[in-house]
């Protein structure tokens, strides 16, 4: 497969799951290592936001909260336009390993393509700006 859909990393941390959990799921923790500042509403469906160096912001949506073992969220890829509906899913799994924690992060969804984008990527009709501008003109004329 040439198109990577899934990224996985495992690290051994010399700290108990509770400490790792706090670093992953609190605004204070996330703001200390993942971004410069963070906010998080820690419940499935809750919003989270990460502000990184340079003022760049990432919006996340909390998806899975199973303290202290699994924390999952979805977020947008910043390479894509803001109105792009695609999100990748990131899941952290914490396993006790001796006095420390084995932390696995899996991010999936890089190869996803919504139905309409797939169709648009193939068929050759030339709509877009000219049509939208026409609609705007029509709207302005009517009002």
């Amino acid at each position: 497969m040439g198109f990577p859909d899934r990224i996985e990393r495992t690290v051994e941390l010399a700290h108990p799951p509770a400490a790792v959990w706090a670093a992953l799921t609190t605004a204070e923790g996330l703001g200390a290592w993942f971004g410069d500042e963070a906010m998080i509403d820690l419940r499935p469906g809750g919003a989270a936001q990460l502000r990184c160096a340079g003022g760049y912001m990432v919006d996340m949506r909390v998806e899975r909260v199973a303290e202290p073992r699994v924390f999952g969220f979805t977020w947008q890829l910043h390479e894509l336009p803001e109105d792009d509906p695609r999100r990748t899913y990131v899941e952290f799994t914490l396993e006790p390993a001796g006095a420390g924690t084995r932390l696995t992060v899996v991010e999936t969804g890089f190869a996803q393509l919504p139905e309409d984008a797939c169709r648009k990527a193939y068929d050759g009709h030339t709509e877009g700006w000219s049509r939208e501008l026409g609609e705007l003109a029509g709207y302005l004329d009517a009002s």
Partner: protein, 127 residues
């Protein structure tokens, strides 16, 4: 995963591998639809060479031909395949190694602070 995603991305990267085609796509992106003659006037390439590249780009679905003024064909950039290629690049650009190192450092720092300060002050790590 649909097998065609990779085919679309490949066509985008093939198109972008050639400097003239990059220049054509960049011009269409920056200035909107144009004829082969318009493009030849802007780029240091003959109209014939531009026409050949436009045929290839149209076959790959990266531009579409549409009727323009005086029955000249105008070419318009299609962004959908570019978004597919962006998704591929996004996977390559995703860096988890850096953040996980930062997490490790953060935990080590916090543990040191916990070990060296009285309990009432254990919140203090900087940044």
């Amino acid at each position: 995963m649909r097998p065609d995603i990779e085919a679309i991305a490949e066509q985008v990267f093939t198109a972008l591998a050639d400097p003239t085609r990059r220049a054509i796509l960049a011009t269409l992106a920056a200035e909107g639809p144009a004829t082969a003659t318009d493009l030849a006037a802007r780029l240091p390439v003959t109209r014939q060479a531009i026409a050949r590249h436009l045929v290839l780009l149209a076959e790959a679905g990266l531009v579409t031909a549409e009727p323009g003024e005086r029955r000249r064909v105008r070419y318009r950039l299609r962004s959908a395949p570019m978004r597919v290629a962006q998704q591929f690049l996004a996977a390559l650009a995703r860096d988890w190694d850096g953040p996980l190192e930062a997490l490790k450092d953060h935990l080590d720092r916090s543990a040191r602070v916990l070990a060296t300060t009285p309990p009432r002050e254990t919140r203090g790590h900087h940044g």
